[in-house]
Amino acid sequence: MTISSRTIPDRLRSPLEQRLKSWEALLLLVAICIFAANSFASPYFLNAWNLSDATFNFTEKAMIAFAMALLIISGEIDLSVASIIALSSTAMGAAVQMGMGTPILVLIGLGVGLLCGSFNGLLVTRMGLPSIVVTIGTMSLFRGISFIVLGDQAYRGYPSDFSWFGQGYVWWVISFEFVLFMVIAAIYFVLLHKTNFGRAVYAIGNNPTGALFSGIRVQRIKFILFILTGLMSGIAAICLTARLGSTRPSIATGWELEVVTMVVLGGISILGGSGTIVGVIIAAFVMGLVTFGLGLLNVPGIVMSIVIGALLIGVIALPRLWSVWRAR
């Protein structure tokens, strides 16, 4: 046919080389190296129960990280997630004091997360404020309310069936939290990569003006993303509270930065517009493995943070250094 010579193909087959050079592949390699190094370094590492314990290092943070990934792809950020956990947990603690049962506690945990998320979303999308500052403000506000309520006290006495959310096992070494993490990962994978909504999120992050000019309801979508992030923080609050069995206002301090680190490590551009959920999943495992492996070697937590910080800068800097060096 004469026409076929002019017809544009749908896709050019992406070369294997390109796929191997992808961020996810690089990250997977890092994960495998860490896994191997850990198994050499400590005899306790390759143990099903130990590995299962290790997942608790990242499952709760990763749940938030998925929603945060979408938010960052869209060009916004939420630094109040850890404070939402604190407020949500405080609300659940207060409900326990009033004798509420587990179903109500879960509803309260989710509800507070939802409310906090919509508060952030309203300030950013309705009033047009920059999210990085707004959420630094709500970060103080939400945790501040916890401090006002609790001061230096703590809530305890959660019902025993509530603790299952943080300590229960579904089958053998597979914890409820790990299953929840996998389910949420799958949901976010589909949402970002297979739906209209996800497509719009990428468009907004790449070029918010262009997306608006294409008839995308940019503010509505961003609002939903803030609500989702709040909701995920609520879910994480339920799991964490159930796991710890108590609530202090300082609960989950500094998690916002670990969550953002996880997202950026997963290859999500902090400038918005690119990255995948698969990357975030691998990044979650990398951070969990590093923390756990160093823990087995009796390396204190604060030193692990050097490794995480260096990893964050290193994985972004090295490819750029490489291209600067090659350009010479």
């Binding site: 990085i132 403000g137 103080s140 401090f147 006002i148 680190t261 692990m304 972004i316 600067v324």
Partner: protein, 327 residues
């Protein structure tokens, strides 16, 4: 000119601060005693120093989340040097603090400039690295008051005209940077690079290099505060000034610094820091639990950023002649 002065953020903040002080002194008259006000100012000085540095960084469309960690690391290093060599003169300690802080800031700056990594990622990373490094060099131990030399501890507390040296350093820094920002090429470059990076390039300003200098200044001021902090509280450990970077950003935002870059003044940053400092110092004396402080500063940030956005809202192009006449 008069109209602009009335509308400016600085005037608004001064009024807010006066109102705040009035309300507080109604409940606790002792608050407005000069000695107490000097105390409050002195107490807020580290925040003022860091807020000025942060303001410059934010002007260039960046953010420096590593300032508090830089402060803690520099503080620990000078404290340990002091323990090892107590006879070193205080001038040397000051110079070491400033240059070590500047070096740490340069590290941030070089990554932002040469590798074009977003500043939030860079400083998030260096924040954790700096904190971790403190643990490594100190082995997790504290440097306590009795280990430090008395000269080391005495310097920031020395009183001149009723105000300790710490407060004087803040005043001098405010004055120096007011001059730098308004009267030097570099100072104006900070505004240009953040306000319109594209045009700045046309005007021959290297935006990346300007950001590098902003981080260097921010780092130097953090380093200086590091020594002052450690000597004033006579203790150094891993977690000092934990989370303080957010207070610093808050002070800037309250002071009218736009997170989008290009807008902000030294006086604004000073007033923003004072506003937070007064609240922090006033809560205990008027019988409000200090646990309220966090929520109050959170509200202040949100209100301030809403006001900033209101003031800087784009009004659209001015095309109609009658619209231009009105402005």
């Amino acid at each position: 000119m008069v109209k602009r002065f009335i509308k400016s953020r600085e005037t608004f903040l001064i009024c807010a601060i006066i109102l705040l002080i009035t309300i507080i002194s109604l409940r606790f008259p002792g608050f407005i005693r000069p000695q107490n006000l000097a105390n409050v100012f002195n107490d807020t000085s580290p925040l003022i120093l860091l807020a000025i540095g942060q303001m410059i960084v934010i002007l260039t469309k960046c953010i420096d989340l590593s300032v508090a960690a830089n402060l803690a690391l520099t503080g620990m290093v000078v404290a340990m040097v002091n323990v090892a060599a107590p006879e070193l003169p205080i001038v040397f300690t000051l110079m070491m603090a400033v240059s070590l802080g500047a070096l740490l800031g340069m590290f941030n700056g070089i990554l932002v400039w040469k590798l074009a990594i977003p500043s939030i990622v860079v400083t998030l990373g260096t924040m954790t690295i700096f904190r971790g490094t403190i643990f490594v060099i100190s082995d997790g131990k504290w440097v306590n008051s009795h280990e430090m030399s008395s000269a080391f501890k005495a310097f920031p507390r020395m009183e001149i005209l009723g105000l300790p040296v710490l407060g004087w350093i803040a005043i001098i820094t405010v004055m120096v940077f007011t001059l730098v920002m308004s009267r030097t090429t570099l100072g104006r470059a900070f505004y240009a690079a953040g306000g319109n990076p594209h045009a700045a390039t046309y005007a021959g300003i290297n935006v990346g290099k300007t950001q590098f200098w902003a981080f260097t200044i921010s780092g130097a001021l953090a380093g200086l505060s590091g020594y002052l902090w450690v000597s004033r509280f006579a203790v150094s450990y891993v977690d000092i000034a934990g989370g303080f970077e957010l207070d610093v950003v808050a002070a800037c935002v309250i002071g009218g610094v736009s997170i989008m870059g290009g807008i902000g003044t030294v006086i604004g940053a000073l007033l923003g820091a004072l506003f937070l400092g007064i609240i922090k110092n006033a809560l205990p004396v008027i019988d409000i639990s200090p646990f309220w402080q966090m929520a109050i500063s959170g509200c202040a940030i949100i209100i301030a950023v809403a006001l900033n956005a209101q003031a800087n809202r784009k009004k659209g192009r001015i095309i109609l002649k009658r619209a231009e006449l009105k402005t």
